[in-house]
C-alpha cells in the first residue's frame, strides 16, 4: 500500500487482485445488484488512486479500504435515489453441488437477508462474510465495541425471524403446483 501511496500504479494491480472479490461480495450481498456492485468496486479503486495520499501509513489498510467502500455506496445513493427491491433474478448463483433442498434454503436465506434494514444487513455482511473483527467494525462505524456486539445480536435475531417467516410462508406454496394438476381451480370448485 505504501507503494501505491507513493505513486506506483502497478502495485494497485496487486491490491485489486486481493480486494476486488471481497469488495464485490460486500456490495453484492448488501445491494443484491451485481452490475451496481461491479460499478462500485471500480469506483473504490479509482478513489484509492485519487485519495491515496490520505492513507496513514501504519494504520490498518483493510479498515481504510472499507471506509472508502462505504462512502462510495453512500455517495452513489445520494446521486441516484434507490428504487432497488429484491427481485428473484438477483438471487445468488446456486452452485451445482447444492442439493435441491439446500438451494431452496439458500434462496430463502438470501431473501431473509435482503428483507432486513440496510444497517443491520451491513453489520452482518461485515462480520460474517468480510470476516472483519468486531473492533475493526467498531472503528469503521465509529461506535463502541459493545454497541457493535449488541447490533450484531439484534441483526441475527431479526434474520432468524425473517427466515422462519419465509419458511412458514413457503410450505403451502411448495404444495401448490402439485395440487393444481389434480384439482380444478377454486372458483370452479365453489360453483359445484
Amino acid at each position: 500500500m505504501l507503494e501505491v501511496r507513493n505513486g506506483t500504479g502497478e502495485t494497485l494491480g496487486v491490491l485489486f487482485d486481493r480486494y476486488h472479490a471481497p469488495l464485490y461480495n460486500f456490495y453484492s450481498k448488501l445491494t443484491g445488484d451485481r452490475t451496481l456492485s461491479e460499478d462500485l468496486v471500480q469506483e473504490v479503486f479509482l478513489r484509492i488512486l485519487k485519495y491515496r495520499q490520505s492513507y496513514q501509513p501504519g494504520t490498518p489498510f483493510r479498515a481504510w479500504i472499507y471506509q472508502i467502500a462505504r462512502n462510495a455506496r453512500v455517495d452513489h445513493y445520494r446521486k441516484t435515489p434507490r428504487h432497488i427491491m429484491f427481485e428473484p433474478e438477483m438471487a445468488p448463483v446456486v452452485m451445482p453441488k447444492d442439493s435441491a433442498q439446500q438451494s431452496e434454503e439458500t434462496a430463502l436465506l438470501h431473501r431473509a437477508l435482503m428483507q432486513m434494514p440496510e444497517e443491520k444487513r451491513e453489520i452482518l455482511v461485515l462480520s460474517r462474510f468480510q470476516e472483519l473483527k468486531y473492533d475493526e467494525i467498531a472503528r469503521l462505524l465509529g461506535c463502541e465495541l459493545g454497541t457493535v456486539k449488541t447490533r450484531i445480536h439484534r441483526a441475527i435475531q431479526e434474520l432468524r425471524q425473517n427466515f422462519k417467516q419465509l419458511e412458514r410462508g413457503l410450505a403451502p406454496r411448495e404444495a401448490g403446483p402439485a395440487v393444481v394438476k389434480t384439482i380444478p381451480p377454486r372458483r370452479f370448485g365453489n360453483e359445484v
Binding site: 500504479g9 502497478e10 494497485l12 494491480g13 485489486f16 487482485d17 476486488h20 472479490a21 464485490y24 461480495n25 453484492s28 450481498k29 451485481r34 456492485s37 461491479e38 468496486v41 471500480q42 479503486f45 479509482l46 488512486l49 445468488p92 448463483v93 446456486v94 452452485m95 439446500q102 434454503e105 439458500t106 436465506l109 438470501h110 437477508l113 452482518l124 462480520s127 460474517r128 462474510f129 473483527k133 468486531y134 457493535v148 456486539k149 449488541t150 450484531i152 445480536h153 441475527i156 435475531q157 434474520l159 432468524r160 427466515f163 422462519k164
Partner: protein, 273 residues
Amino acid sequence: MKCEEIGELLPDYLQGSLKAEQDELVEKHIAECADCREDVVIWKKLSLLPVEQPSAASRARFEEMLQAYQTGRNDRATAGVERAKSASLWNWLRSPVGAVAWSAALLIIGIFSGVSAGNYWGNKPTRSNANQEEIAAMHAELANMKQVVVLSMLQQQSASERLQAVSYSRREDQLDPQVMSALVHTLRYDGSVDVRLAALDALSRHGAQPQVHKGVVDALQEQQSPLVQVALIDLMVEWRDPDAAQRLRNFVQTPNLNPTVKQRADWALSKLN
C-alpha cells in the same frame, strides 16, 4: 442465565473468542433455549450463501481505468516541461507496448536490409556464402528478439497481455528453452485460468521435449482449477506417458477432488491400462 445475558456473549461465541468457561455457559444455555439455538444455527447457515465472483470484464475495466488515470497524469506532468516529455517517451519505449513496437521496427529494418543485401550480393557468387551467414545471423537475432518480447510480456500484470504473450510463443515451431520454462512456469503459477489453459495448449505441441513433458505432468498435482486439471489429464492420455498411470492413481487419492475431475481421471486410468 437469561437470554439477554447470553446475547451479550453470543457474538464473541460465534467468532470463537470466548474464554472456556463462558463458552460452556453459552453452550449450556443453547441446549435449553430454542430461540438462542436458532440464532446460532442461522449464523452458521449464512455460510450457505455462495462467495460470488465478479465478472472477468471487471479486471479489464480496472486496467483501462488505471491506464486512463496514468495517461491523464502523464499528460499533465508533461504539459510544460520538455524533459519530462522525453522521459515519458523513454517510459513508453520501456513499456511492453513500446517493446513490441521496438521489435517490430527492428524486424522490418532487419528484413529490409536482409532482402536488399540478398539482392545486391546475390549476383556475386564469391560473397554469397558470407551473405547467407549474415542473413542467418539476422534471423537468429530476430528470433532472439521475439523471445525477449514473449518473456517480458509473460511478466505483465494484465492477463490479456499474458495471453497475447502465450499466443506469440505459438508462432515459433522451435521453442527456446527459456521461453519453454517460462511457459511451464505460467502453466503452474499464473493467476488466471485462461492464461494457464492457453499455456498448456501452447506446450502440448512440444510434448516430445523432456523438459516440457516433465513440467506438464508435474503441474497436475498443484492445479486447483478443475478446467486445467481435466485438460492436463486429457493431455497425459494423449501422450501415453509411461508414468501417467502412477501419477493419476496418486492424484485420484487427493482429498476433496472435484467429482467431474475424479471421473475424468478414472476414465483416463481405464484408458491407460
